[in-house]
Amino acid sequence: MNKRVVVSILLLLVLSVLLTACGGGGSDVIRIGINAPLTGDNPKVGEGTKYAAEMWLEDINAAGGLDVGGKKYQVELVIEDNEYKAESATKANTKLITQDEVLLIIGPQSSQQAVPAGGVANDNKTPMISPWSTNPNTTKDRPWVFRTPFLDPFQGPVIANFAAEQFGATKAAVLYDVASDYPKGLAEFFKQAWEEKFGEGSVVAFESFTTKDQDFSAQLTKIKESGADFIFTPQYYSEVPLIVQQAHELGWDKPIVGSDSWGSAELVNLCGDDCDGLFFSTHYAAAGATGATKEFIDRYNAKYGYVPDDVGALTWDTLLIAQTAIQNCGKITGDLAVDRECVRDALANIKDFHGITGDMTFTPEGDPIKCAVIVRISDAGEFEFFKQVCP
């Protein structure tokens, strides 16, 4: 056998594998893509997404499929790992849209991935809903992209007002990851809100680091020296314990405040006693929840052995919104372009959706109008409801 024959046989094999992968999927199946960080820097986020989605699928299967216009459709979830990287998230979206031919995409969770991935979905005219991304750019000028959480420009002033009232603070310090969309965006919105309140220069330290850094001693020493009344750090659960602990070791005894990225079940495990008594703003509080929210929490806890964090709750809401939109569509034609457009229009028209993270109505931009919650980490390490802040 010469080389050319071998190469052509290999090519044929690859092609046939690809074809079989693309085939399948009759018209009675609705495929929903999930773009989540199962590995990488924030695997707990990916896990929460996956678990919530599996619970939702369980409900659909128990009902014998998804009822659209009187016909039952089987639902298939296609879960793609984005490794918590922007490049992988856009790749995953492209694969879901072109190869897996999904009707719509849930995810990516973090703005770092959702902002670039949203572009792919919009260009390919496929509806995408990010359950967790709070950066405005995710949905900006993208009619096909939606989200379920509130936005950073809302969260910035919420935290600024809270810190001013609660601590009587006038001087703020910020420590954030300059290489990541979410912390950088939120840090700037917070700074803007704080300076509107207390004037130019009232953010006395605006310090940054880059993703993967583990030592923050130089930045924290600077912050301590600046005489700030509290630190605002919109970071993720893998960094917050290091920041808080190092701050305490440098003799910092004033408050440290966070944002919704703190709200992971893993935070307290990694942080230990150091995080007790700290505050952050988020989408929902597990401790003291009632009604449908409590039902969801109890079911999740019984199934997976821990209280779901906000990613799980928001993903749950997102899937129900997607379900509502598909059902409001009335029928599935089988022509993907037509169905995708129908789902998009249905999403844009959703009004007063009662979610477990609050009531939502979408703005023309694809963003929900909803309230934020301030959570206090109790001495037992639980996320306690502290107060609600509405727009």
């Binding site: 199962l38 590995t39 990488g40 820097d41 695997p43 707990k44 990916g46 896990e47 300059v178 310090e207 940054s208 680091f209 880059t210 993967k212 850094d213 583990q214 030592d215 001693s217 130089a218 930045q219 020493t221 600077k222 020296e225 659960y237 893998s238 960094e239 314990p241 290091l242 602990q245 305490h248 070791e249 440098l250 003799g251 893993e266 495990n269 990694l270 230990g272």
Partner: protein, 307 residues
């Protein structure tokens, strides 16, 4: 003044890690003329081994069969993990480098990269992507010296690092094995002809370097207790920079350069806006290398390297 002193303390701790890791790069280069790019991941493996040894010892102590005080657990963890990780290092040498000893340099260089990726992925498969918290063996205590905050952890880290560097220097300078390593570093083509076993010395060098990386990994775990499979990548690359800055193959150079790198990074962040930290820090190092292309302690003729 207190601000300055506080940053000196910060830099001493941060530099210790670079120094300990850089030593591994430098020794391997000195003896075998190759850079083991998997070294940052050996540091990660050492940290995880330390995590399991420490958790095991704490668990054993809790059962009440033998009750160990926490300081003893810490000492035992460091020693046991150093020994176990040195075997990992020797295994890497045996599997990844020995078969390629006569291969082109580039092949040996990418071997390290591949082994690094293999170690990261194996960890990811075995333990999953979730973060582990390094057990708190040393209850953190903060002392205040005229406004400068020093923790018992910082003192312990700097002290143990310096002690290990001193012991390494003693080994290389005063023992027969150390002499064999130095001879090999001088000329690895001729010295084996004199009856010094190249394979044994190569394994020894990898073992020593890995043991130091393990110690660094455990000290790192006490100071920065959130562990993940990629924790060794960035710090490994930066320690590699320290090894080059110190002068390829120079032990003293690697140790000194590690601390210098720590100081440059911390002070760049404390003087300039912290966003520019790495930009400024690594521009300074580039500048140093422009004027001292062989590093601070390196020699002109690369064939005559000294350990």
């Amino acid at each position: 003044m207190t601000y300055f002193l506080q940053n000196v303390v910060n830099a001493l701790q941060w530099g210790s890690f670079y120094a300990l890791i850089a030593l591994g790069y430098s020794m391997v280069y000195g003896v075998l003329l190759l850079f083991n790019f998997a070294h940052g991941d050996v540091f990660m493996v050492g940290s995880y081994i330390g995590f399991f040894v420490a958790t095991g010892l704490v668990g054993l102590s809790a059962t009440g069969i033998i009750t160990l005080p926490y300081w003893l657990i810490l000492v035992l963890t460091i020693l046991i993990s150093m020994i176990l990780t040195s075997f990992v290092g020797m295994l890497i040498e045996r599997v990844g480098y020995r078969p390629l000893r006569d291969a082109p340099r580039a092949s040996a260089a990418i071997t390290g990269l591949m082994i690094g990726i293999i170690l990261e992925t194996l960890n990811l498969i075995a333990l999953g992507a979730e973060r582990y918290k390094f057990p708190e063996l040393l209850q953190s205590q903060t002392y205040d010296f005229m406004g400068v905050s020093i923790t018992n952890k910082k003192i312990m880290i700097v002290f143990v690092s310096l002690l290990l560097m001193y012991l390494l220097n003693l080994f290389v300078m005063k023992t027969k094995w150390g002499m064999a390593m130095r001879a090999m570093a001088y000329d690895f083509a001729v010295v084996p002809l004199m009856g010094i076993p190249l394979n044994t010395i190569a394994a020894l060098t990898f073992g020593l370097g890995s043991a130091l990386a393990a110690a660094a990994g455990i000290l790192f775990g006490t100071a920065y207790p959130v562990m993940d499979p990629y924790m060794g990548v960035t710090i490994g690359w930066k320690a590699f920079v320290a090894a080059i800055l110190g002068g390829r193959g120079s032990i003293v150079g690697a140790a000194v350069a590690g601390f210098i790198l720590g100081f440059i990074e911390i002070f760049s962040a404390s003087i300039f806006p912290s966003t520019y930290r790495d930009l400024i820090a690594y521009s300074i190092i580039l500048l140093i290398l422009v004027f001292r292309p062989h590093g601070l302690f390196g020699q002109e003729h690369t064939s005559k390297l000294r350990l």
